[in-house]
């Protein structure tokens, strides 16, 4: 009887010690791993703030403000803007390419377009917890989106983000 109780006690304590030891070791290891990842993580995380566009009889303006919520710096490479416009009385969809040097191209034809690009930072980079404001003026085409929304894609060196421009 005594022997049996002794064996039960030994098996309980032994199992508990082994289980707790394993768990504590696993926890310490995971915390270390997480911290290592955090320290090593330099990935930027670009998000969109507000984005607007406005049409006029001689220009189309696009305004967008982008944030970097990540930990690494993000450098703007280029941005596509897709919108319908009227060319020779026909409604056609065109793609505009805005590069980091402030040039604007018709991406379909490769033509350099009349307009301007203003970045709030030059060169256009966003460090961690900062913002980048981009104003694009296009003089050759008038955006003609029926739902008053225009889609763009901003490409950074380490991130890509979709921008929805709202008409004002």
């Amino acid at each position: 009887m005594m022997k049996k109780r002794y064996r039960r006690a030994v098996s309980f304590i032994g199992t508990l010690v082994v289980a707790l030891g394993a768990l504590v070791a696993a926890t310490i290891a995971s915390i270390i791993i997480i911290n290592i990842f955090n320290v090593m993580n330099t990935q930027p995380y670009v998000t969109v703030g507000e984005a607007y566009y406005i049409n006029s009889t001689s220009y189309t303006h696009f305004h967008v403000i982008l944030y970097n919520a990540g930990r690494g710096q993000a450098t703007f490479q280029y941005m596509y803007i897709f919108f319908p416009t009227i060319i020779n009385d026909n409604l056609v969809n065109i793609t505009i390419l805005v590069d980091s040097n402030g040039n604007i191209y018709n991406n379909d034809t490769g033509d350099l377009l009349d307009g301007s690009v203003v970045f709030s930072e030059i060169p256009p980079t966003i460090s961690s917890q900062s913002a980048l404001d981009i104003v694009v003026e296009i003089n050759d085409y008038n955006a003609n989106a029926t739902n008053n929304k225009i889609i763009g894609i901003a490409v950074f060196d380490k991130d890509t983000i979709v921008v929805t421009f709202e008409k004002i």
């Binding site: 926890t27 997480i34 507000e50 944030y67």
Partner: protein, 737 residues
């Protein structure tokens, strides 16, 4: 068992550790706090744009540029805070001035910007984008000037900048019947003058009057002192009463709530219906009284009019304009109908009628400042038996536009505008009437049509009957100004050349600070839609209007926005004079900048007898401060709970002791007391004679511990000056909406 127990314990530990790891991972997620910028108002007055921008986020924002777009012209402009100019980027030229009080806006804070275009003439369609370091805000600009310049028809109410107005129109029979109710009725008591054989007759009088009956609005009251022998016969038709009479010789008789014929030459003749008959010089002896209407509504189609039909149950286009009218008649007449005489009042077979048709729109109205009723009525009268106009015939009203108010559960007539009979026929009225109403009450509109003429002679065969057609009704409901329904008299005290202190230490520059401050103040007063303010711009006006007016020309309950800030002397008047005027004329004097009390007052000095009450920011006030900004100060609830104020103190000013009581205070700054710390404090001030005025100290600073200390001047203080002063005026002098 022991093994299982150990496993359970281990699992519990495992769960705890997993939760901890989860928390750690969550805490490492990406995040970004940003301001949330909203352009609260964007208005254009002439060629100047006013912006009020608020930060609803939890981080400060710094303004970088404001883009103003003219989409129709294909132009745009950029206003830059650093240079204070507006440029046209396509030409590179400066086109105006950019006034701004500061460039950064704290959480909950407000930024006011003015863009004055001096070279270009702005288009009517304008849009904009304000770019901040971490936010964008778009806006459309309301053309203030266009609204202000609206044409106002003669006779209509002034319409302010804020003008919610609406209403409804009922055109033609179908809409009128679908959206309204029509009844026909008489007062219950049939009454006429006659002889002893109950035959109608004239009776000689000493005095014979007809009034609008104050107890029965819309009906008449007759008051006649008889000199001749005669009998006033009466009978209550509702309660089965039989004929009775009052011998009238030598009596003053009052017939109340009367509709019917009333004719006087040297004698009086009357025949109709009434609610009450009294006698005695003060009409205090009641002969008979019954307040219940006798409804006799009888609708029939045109082709089957009965002997008592008084309303057609179908529309007829009387005037051929393809709109069918609602037709009411006691003698159907008109260009396209076969004439029919009916007993419209439904009393035996007597065709000489007296009755009222009452059309009421089934649409309750509240929260309005005025109701305007327009419409079109045709009427045709038929003089039966005689072709001559009866002598002594009284011109009585034939219809009235009515506004009813719900009073203790009953609809009472509040307003009516009546139109009288003319011998011209046919007659068409296109009427238009405006009635002031109280926002807190409930109203309905309607029209009363009268058939006022029964028999003119003793045999009862000589009378006028009517046909009315109502074609359309337009009811306009308006609010003159939702914020300030009853505009206060306002003086803006800004006298060029007089002393100015502590009002111009911002980016605009102090050299023309007073004119800039005046410009801001006028904009702010206009923003809340108050017309008629007076800019006091000379010492003569200051004396004549406020400080020493002629007897009978004194100001009363006015607001004075004193833009001279901390000046100790304006046109020779000092703080002592201001206190005297404030209490004497019950003014609200707003010190838009400057110290609470100028202790250097000379002569006399100011001696503070007791310590002013300390101010404590309540927890609610802290919440308000964090959550909202000064733009919400208008809300009395927030306003009254921002700071705890209580108690009073006295000041000896010269040889006069004034008692000051703190009423309200508000605060625009961070709770920890760091800048900005603008605020407003309202004091009630009482002179030794018991006269009471109010002083609003604006721009006062409040220390971190909540102690009221002294004043500082800011252009941003403009808004803080206007709202508390108007709020106070409404509380103390204004009629509450």
């Amino acid at each position: 068992m022991t093994f299982i127990g150990a496993v359970i314990v281990a699992i519990a530990f495992l769960i705890a550790i997993m939760l901890a790891i989860s928390w750690i991972i969550n805490s490492q997620k990406f995040y970004f706090t940003k301001p949330d910028i909203v352009v609260e108002s964007a208005t254009k007055d002439n060629n100047t744009i006013y912006l009020t921008i608020k930060n609803y986020g939890r981080e400060s924002a710094t303004l970088e540029n404001i883009y103003i777009y003219e989409p129709r012209k294909g132009k745009y402009y950029i206003a830059t805070p650093g240079t204070h100019v507006i440029t046209d980027p396509t030409t590179g030229t400066d086109v105006g001035n950019f006034y701004i009080t500061k460039t950064s806006v704290a959480p909950g804070g407000v930024l006011k910007a003015t863009l004055e275009f001096t070279i270009v003439e702005l288009d009517e369609v304008l849009k904009g984008i304000a770019t901040f370091d971490k936010a964008l805000a778009s806006f459309e600009i309301v053309n203030y000037t266009a609204i202000m310049a609206r044409e106002v028809e003669p006779g209509t109410l002034w319409k302010g900048v804020y003008l919610p107005e609406g209403g409804f129109k009922l055109i033609g029979y179908d809409q009128l019947m679908a959206k309204g109710n029509i009844t026909a009725w008489t007062p219950p008591i049939r009454v006429f003058l006659g002889d002893g054989w109950r035959t109608p007759s004239y009776v000689n009088h000493d005095v014979s009057f007809i009034y609008d009956d104050p107890e029965h609005p819309g009906l008449y009251m007759l008051k006649i002192t008889f000199s001749g022998s005669g009998y006033l016969w009466y009978r209550d038709l509702l309660n089965g009463g039989s004929w009775n009479y009052l011998y009238v010789k030598g009596k003053t008789v009052c017939i109340k709530g009367f509709v019917g014929t009333y004719s006087t030459t040297s004698a009086t003749y009357l025949s109709g219906y009434a609610f009450e008959i009294d006698y005695g010089s003060s009409c205090s002896n009641v002969v008979i009284s019954d307040d219940e209407k006798r409804y006799i509504t009888s609708l029939s189609p045109y082709n089957s009019i009965t002997s008592t039909t008084n309303i057609l149950s179908e529309g007829i286009d009387y005037d051929g304009n393809r709109v069918k009218e609602l037709v009411m008649f006691s003698y159907l007449n008109g260009p396209l109908v076969t004439e029919v005489n009916t007993d419209a009042e439904s009393y035996y077979d007597e065709y000489h009628d007296a009755l009222v048709w009452e059309y009421v729109v089934a649409h309750d109205i509240s929260n309005a400042d005025y109701i305007k009723v327009s419409g079109k009525i045709n009427y045709y009268w038929t003089l039966y038996y005689s072709i001559n106009e009866p002598a002594g015939f009284r011109i009585l009203r034939i219809f009235a536009i009515v506004v009813y108010k719900l009073v203790n559960g009953e609809w009472k007539i509040e307003h009516y505008k009546s139109y009288s009979f003319t011998w011209e026929k046919p007659k068409q009225y296109v009427f238009n009437a405006v009635f002031p109403v109280n926002r807190s009450e409930i109203y309905r509109v309607g029209i009363l049509f009268y058939d006022n003429y029964m028999d003119f002679d003793a045999d009862g065969s000589y009378y006028l009957d009517f046909t009315y057609t109502l074609e359309h009704l337009v009811v306009e409901i308006g609010v003159s100004n939702p914020i300030v329904p009853n505009p206060p008299p306002i003086f803006v005290l800004a006298i060029p050349g007089e002393e100015v202190d502590s009002i111009g230490e911002d980016a605009i520059g102090a050299s023309n600070a007073l004119s800039n401050f005046t410009y801001y103040m006028k904009g702010e007063i206009g923003y809340v839609g108050i017309p008629g303010y007076v800019v006091v711009d000379s010492c003569d006006k200051f004396t004549a209007l406020i400080m020493n007016p002629e007897p009978g020309r004194e100001p009363k309950n006015a607001i004075v926005f004193d833009l001279h800030g901390n000046a100790s002397n304006v046109c020779g008047y000092n703080f002592k004079d201001i206190l005297e005027a404030t209490t004497k004329y019950n003014l609200i004097w707003v010190r838009t900048a400057g110290a609470l009390f100028n202790s250097t007052l000379d002569p006399g000095g100011v001696i503070q007898n007791t310590t002013p009450t300390w101010l404590n920011i309540t927890d609610y006030g802290k919440y308000v401060k964090r959550t909202y900004g000064p733009v919400t100060f208008y809300d009395s609830l927030l306003f009254n709970n921002s700071l705890e104020v209580s108690g009073s103190f006295t000041l000896d000013v010269g040889d006069t002791t004034y008692t000051f009581t703190m009423l309200n205070a508000t605060y625009n700054g961070t709770v920890d007391g760091s800048e900005p710390r603008e605020g407003s404090v309202i004091l009630e001030v009482e002179d030794p004679n018991g006269n009471i005025g109010y002083i609003v100290y604006n721009g006062v600073a409040i220390t971190p511990s909540g102690v009221l200390t002294k004043g500082v001047g800011y252009y941003t203080a403009t808004q803080l000056a206007v709202y508390p002063a108007i709020d106070l005026w409404i509380q103390k002098f204004g009629t509450q909406p």
